[in-house]
Amino acid sequence: MSLTKKLSGILLVLSFVFSSVDAATKNGVKLADKQIFTYRILDDIKSFDPQISTDVSGSEILRSLFEGLMNEDSTGELVPGAATSFSVSEDKLTYTFNLREANWANGEPVKAGDFVYAWRRLVDPATASEYAWYMELMGIVNASQVVKGELAPDQLGVKALDDKTFQITIENALPYFPSMTTHASTFPVLQSVVEKHGTQWTRPENMVGNGAYTLDEYRPGEKVVMKRNPGYWNDAETTLEEVVALVINDDDQALTRYLAGEMDKTEIPSGQFPRLKKEYADEAFSYPRSCSYIYWFNIGEKGPEALKDVRVRTALSYAINREIITDKILQGGQYQSYNFTHQKTAGFTLPDIEYANWTQPERDAKAKALITEAGYGPDNPLKLSISYNTSEGHKKIAIAISQFWKKTLGVEVELINTEWKVHTTNMQAGDYEIGRYAWCGDYNEASTYLDLLTSYSGHNVGGFSNTAYDELMAESKTMADPSDNYSKAEALLAAQMPFAPIYQYTGVIMLKPHLKGWPIGNLMQNWYARELYIVEP
């Protein structure tokens, strides 16, 4: 054996030794060399500006580019983000957040003033943010007046006590206030950058964030590429080098590209979960997702007379065979729903709702009795219309429900299908009889659902108004443990039936087995790219 051969042999052995020492591991598993996570988004990102963004996929990206006061862990529990800790005053109206030592991607320190600037910016009429209401929802002092232009933005109840202390004053105690600071619209932005570049500040070449990643490339309608930010305070624990979001409008196309190995994550097209679960047992997942699918009964001014009768509403709700909808139509592990709040919501115990425990024949019998009692029958059939927006899924459900109602109750149903904007406009104007609707939680607490039914809610499109309900919800805001009130509120909804609950969502996705760290257990599906990693196959 020649010397060179010997040497190269030794080098080879050495390189093995070193590479096995070098090869990074996480949680005891060997990491892949290529740390790139590619996933699919349905539509193009509407905005990369935290205070302007309104869409879910935009928020997902913003959680990588910026960091708010608090983050969520894989189960949805609050963990420190840009703030290390917070304290709350005795009257529960003042929150003081202590910020950590962290930098913006350009090296400047993250200061409390950056949060003050961003929060004022969100409510400033000049920003014209569609999400300005989020500060009103948080109950920040003077938020409404600033939005209305009655007070200057600097009158908002936020201030920087010093560079690292951010103080917020709210109007009424809100037990879940800290969890609201994980929302993308509350993320800080750097005033100097925003003012220097105007609307152009979100371009990859201009943007400066405080998140674990920086915006590297944006190709409208095609993809978003983010690269690891070495200046992020917790970069040592970040693993993914690159995050790529591909815009793919068509569900089936996305699945094909996933199966071809172009992506690590995609949504499963409706109805395909059972097949994929069989074929790819370790890749197809169904997990609870905080949204509730309902049919509003319009009991407002413009609604039909029949629906003002609680017996009619109850009969209609009872006669829906939810099992068929979840198991035969949707087939993605969705939950049959007899209440409003998603049953997996943190701290929420599903109240005992009587008709949930009956069999469908029992419900049908009860429904028939109720509709006869209300004066409808073969001689005097009830005529109603169901409005829904264009989608295969909504259509199938509407057809199924119209059949349940026809067969069980003899109701003659007209189906009205319109495109989404028309449907939404009609619903909000009260121009419908029975309308398809879905509500998704803004935060992981039952009031994000139950507040909707208060008479003063801006989203109560069914026109439900009940003093007892309003009182229950108002009282819950000041209680240490409001869960008892939430149960009472749900029971009241089951008795009054302002809408028919139909099902509660699951997310159904394909995830490559080599991708680890996905927060399946997070009901809000608030995932953070810096917690994901790719292991060797």
């Binding site: 905005s47 014209a128 943010s129 209401w133 409208p220 815009v247 409008n249 196309q253 172009e262």
Partner: protein
């Protein structure tokens, strides 16, 4: 000829104006607006948004301001939905992509369509004819929204040869499938029109004379048949070219190309007024321009046509 061109260009101005006003009116008449959302935006916030985008002005003022910005500054305004971007940017980014795959697809469709049509007509009622007609009909019944997913299934999933989507100007592998998917049905139409028009011309008196003179077959076809036979094809090509280069929602949707076809449809669905107007005007101007070009080509091909 020159006066004709000038006259057509002058007529184009009121045509475009009418297009703008009509689209503007129709768009605002559609229920809902750019800020209609699941979560109804509270009135005070809606007021801020409308003020920001000038939607609080009377309708006539909005039209006037819009026209002024477009004519004087060539400024189509900000997108109402993709708020970080302007319409000019959206078009500047998406149109070159659409133009690229559209123009290539057009060239492919014309070349193969005409070749197929000529081959079929010159071999009338022989196997080449049946074969060509078979291909043309097959291509016609495969609309692009069926063909696109099939292509991806075969070339991306099964063979792994081509990426399933995305766009790179300098990499043909991103362009092949969009081009095939877009070109196929146009190719079929062009083949059918060429074939039937060729058959008609082949039976014309002057062709019989040419053959009687003893001209070789290829000379007859090239000098005496092809030019007149292409007239009907040409009138089909004008609008087809505009359709192809202004994008196909199906191509953009299935191949994530980032072209303006999908932008237009999304703008309509999202009530993104400014983007919809911008792309409508672009398509309108291109249609007018290419129709004029085709008319000029007509005169060149057929000396009997005089303007």
């Amino acid at each position: 000829m020159l006066t004709y061109i000038v006259r057509r260009l002058i007529i184009a101005i009121p045509t475009l104006l009418i297009l703008v006003v009509l689209s503007f009116t129709l768009m605002h008449a559609a229920p809902g607006g750019p800020f209609t959302a699941d979560r109804e935006v509270p009135p005070e916030i809606l007021a801020n948004l409308e003020a920001r985008y000038g939607l609080d002005q009377p309708f006539v003022v909005q039209v006037f301001v819009y026209l002024k910005n477009v004519v004087l500054h060539f400024d189509f305004g900000p997108s109402f939905v993709y708020k970080d971007r302007t319409v000019n940017e959206i078009i500047a980014n998406g149109f070159p992509i659409t133009l690229t795959y559209g123009a290539i697809a057009f060239a492919v469709a014309v070349f193969f369509g005409v070749a197929l049509g000529v081959a079929a007509a010159t071999h009338h009622n022989r196997w080449i004819d049946y074969f060509a007609v078979g291909i043309a009909i097959g291509a016609q019944v495969l609309p692009n929204f069926v063909l696109a997913p099939i292509l991806v299934l075969v070339f991306t999933l099964m063979l792994g040869w081509l990426p399933g989507g995305g766009w790179e100007y300098d990499q043909p592998r991103y362009i092949i499938m969009p081009v095939i998917a877009l070109a196929t049905s146009f190719l079929a139409s062009i083949a059918r029109i060429t074939r039937s028009s060729m058959l008609e011309v082949l039976n014309a008196q002057h062709v019989r004379t040419a053959r009687a003179k003893g001209l070789p077959s290829h000379r007859v076809i090239l000098s005496h048949v092809l030019k007149p036979a292409l007239l009907p094809v040409l009138s089909y090509l004008g609008p087809t070219f505009v359709t192809m280069i202004t994008g196909s929602v199906v191509i953009d949707m299935f191949f994530s190309t980032g072209g303006i076809g999908l932008s237009l449809v999304n703008a309509a669905l999202n009530r993104d007024y400014s983007v919809m107007m911008g792309i409508t005007i672009l398509i309108g101007a291109l249609t007018i321009g290419f129709n004029l070009l085709i008319d000029i080509l007509y005169a060149w091909i057929d000396p009997k046509i005089r303007y």
